[in-house]
């Protein structure tokens, strides 16, 4: 297990998340694909920290911790928005959500 392995794994996970964001039409699936991408970034933080010259500074875990907190806030607000949109349009299909006005 070298740093390169971790980075490639995280790149693969990021691309899977990107694939989900680009192809799925359900807003919730798009949200959790974004979560996959954020987790891939967290894996990078931890891997770089582990292989850095001075791991006692703990920059990697601290950054990952804050990233996790921001991601949690993001998913809470995002899901609330999805539910509000669903109330209004009665669908979460992103292809049908193409207007800002009342229909």
């Amino acid at each position: 297990m070298t740093l390169e392995h971790c980075l490639i794994l995280s790149a693969v996970l990021f691309c899977i998340g990107l694939f989900g964001v680009l192809t799925r039409r359900n807003a919730i699936v798009v949200l959790f694909s974004i979560e996959i991408m954020l987790n891939a970034a967290n894996l990078n933080f931890i891997a770089f920290w582990r292989y850095s010259e001075n791991p006692t500074l703990l920059h990697g875990p601290l950054f990952a911790l804050f990233a996790i907190a921001v991601a949690a806030a993001e998913v809470a607000v995002g899901l609330a928005l999805v539910i509000a949109v669903y109330r209004h349009f009665k669908t979460v299909d992103l292809e049908k959500l193409d207007t800002l006005k009342e229909e």
């Binding site: 693969v12 039409r25 919730i28 292989y51 601290l62 804050f66 809470a76």
Partner: protein, 172 residues
Amino acid sequence: MSLQITFWILATVAVSGALLAVRLRNLIHGVFSLMIFFGALAGMFLLLMAEFIAAVQILVYIGAVGILLLFAIMLTERVAEDGGRRISSRGSFWGMAAAIAVFVALLLPAIRQTDLPKTAQTVQPSVEKLGQQLMDPYVVTLEVMALLLTAALIGAVAVSQGGKPKNEDEPK
């Protein structure tokens, strides 16, 4: 050697969990495989000696985010009927092409060409140090984070409640 084997097992589980999460038609099953992905990533953090982050990953992602997603799906989608509406295969082809292009053209060369450190440092268990760091140099960041989480919580409640509660009392 056992580290290698564990790494490959966890990597396989994480990648297949993520793939299933973005491809499964049934969204509930998708969220469960997403939870498996989160769990595998927590194992990966343990492998990289970040035990506190692994615990946070399990608590926040599997515990909170997973359940939140389940509730959101149950509140919006009629799961029994059409669990997932996928885009046509053509769209999925172009999406996969774009994702693979990003991987091959952008990420892989960057990883290959960078001169990466080869050896892992020996790391002591770091929870105590992490707590001290959060209190000493990073206390402002921590407070800002707490403020952000509070604002997100209030905002989520306000947005998802919808409508205008004040108008309910008005005569129609």
